[in-house]
Amino acid sequence: MNISTSIWTWVMAACILAIFSFIYKENPIYRFAEHVFVGSTAGHAIGMAVGNIHRFGWVPLTTKNEWHFIIPAILGLMLYARFIKGYAWVSRWPIAYLVGNGVGLSLFTSLNSQAILQARATMMDLIVHDKAGKFLLNRTFDNFLLVFGVLIVLTYFIFSIPQNGPMKKVSQAGRWLMMLTFGVSFGNVVAGRISLLLGQISILLTRWLGVI
């Protein structure tokens, strides 16, 4: 055992243990650490934001005479009109700008990368042979499952046709496939969180206590 003598390592261990104390039950130490977590994260984000204004706005404006950077500065300041009674509507202009930005970007990306490219990737050979012409049962089965899996899940989302008879059965199969997908996602999330937990425990055992 080789316990660390660094004050910073002890601070780090205290932070981790304060958060982990929640595993026993909610307690004042956990709540304190939780608030410090929110404060430190917010402070980091604010500092980064100030840095961005300085780097992308102030420096080009003052050193390269790029006067157009006055526009986002004014729009940014207009956001704070929310705090002035009777002038809160002024803050709609920068919000409208940000919404327009998001909408314009998502119109192209949602259609291109999320709809067209995904649909194109689903258009695959249903019967698969290797280069020598030998039939590949596994790949064929996988491709059938992929293509019809996408179609049956999409059927579940068709609301413009009443889901009766065979349509109901197909959409029910789509529901099962979605449950399987959610199960896989859930399993991945749990595995990821457990690996984070092991990482934190490993930090305590190596950097703080020095037992590993």
Binding site: G47, Q114, R193
Partner: protein, 218 residues
């Protein structure tokens, strides 16, 4: 005026961002392409306006917790800790941003970030494993066929990802890989396509001013 100008701004900015990646050639009067307008003007402007918006959020946080401290509401010490840590990290990060080549400043910020913010964040996300465990216990109690499918898939993925899975049954890792690559891809792909079509429709409604919820009330 109070609603029309914001709608016009949304439309113009949206159209420019939309045309950026799909058009080539210059706009006649401006002698610039949409792509150039986006990269030279609009994208840096967005970074700056977003930065101002973060300031707005932080003022709200300060006002809320500042009032808890001022009124000595129950748990005000936690609010004070939040305000102090927020101010401390803000000042430290700003100095770090303004003096990026000063090794002492960089080292100090690295030390407080690596030993306070990062472990708090890492531990906070790590204990979510316990939240998820309790949530899954409640979810899996629903004894339907669909819940069973979810449960079996989740167990196979977890066992396949952990070394113990291969010790229990040799085929767990390959079964996990197949579940991820084939049925999961099919389900995810269909969900992504559905969400994209929904997102596209909503974006069009916003662009043409049919959806005005973001403007708030009068």
């Amino acid at each position: 005026m109070r609603r029309e100008i914001p709608l016009l701004i949304t439309f113009l900015v949206g159209i420019i961002f939309l045309f950026g990646p799909i058009t080539t050639g210059n706009i006649p009067v401006l002698e610039m392409s949409f792509r150039q307008i986006v990269s030279t003007y609009l994208s840096p402007w967005t970074t700056i306006i977003t930065a101002f918006a973060i300031g707005l959020a932080s003022i709200n946080l300060l006002r809320l917790h500042g009032s808890y401290v001022a009124r000595k509401r129950s748990g005000w010490i936690n609010s004070a800790a939040l305000v102090i840590s927020m101010l401390f990290f803000t000042v430290a990060r700003i100095i770090r941003e303004l003096r990026p080549t000063d090794p002492e400043v960089v080292a100090f910020y690295g030390r407080i970030f690596d030993n306070i913010a990062a472990p708090l964040s890492g531990a906070m996300f790590a204990i979510l494993a316990f939240y998820i465990a309790s949530a899954s216990y409640r979810a899996f109690r629903a004894r339907s066929l669909e819940a069973s499918v979810l449960l079996v898939a989740a167990i196979i993925v977890m066992l396949g990802a952990a070394p113990v899975g291969a010790l229990i049954w040799d085929y767990f890792p390959s079964l996990q890989r197949w579940l991820l690559a084939v049925p999961n891809t099919a389900g995810q792909r269909a969900i992504i396509i559905g969400a994209a079509i929904g997102g596209f429709a909503t974006s069009l409604r916003i662009l043409f001013g049919l959806e005005r919820g973001y403007l708030g009330g009068d």
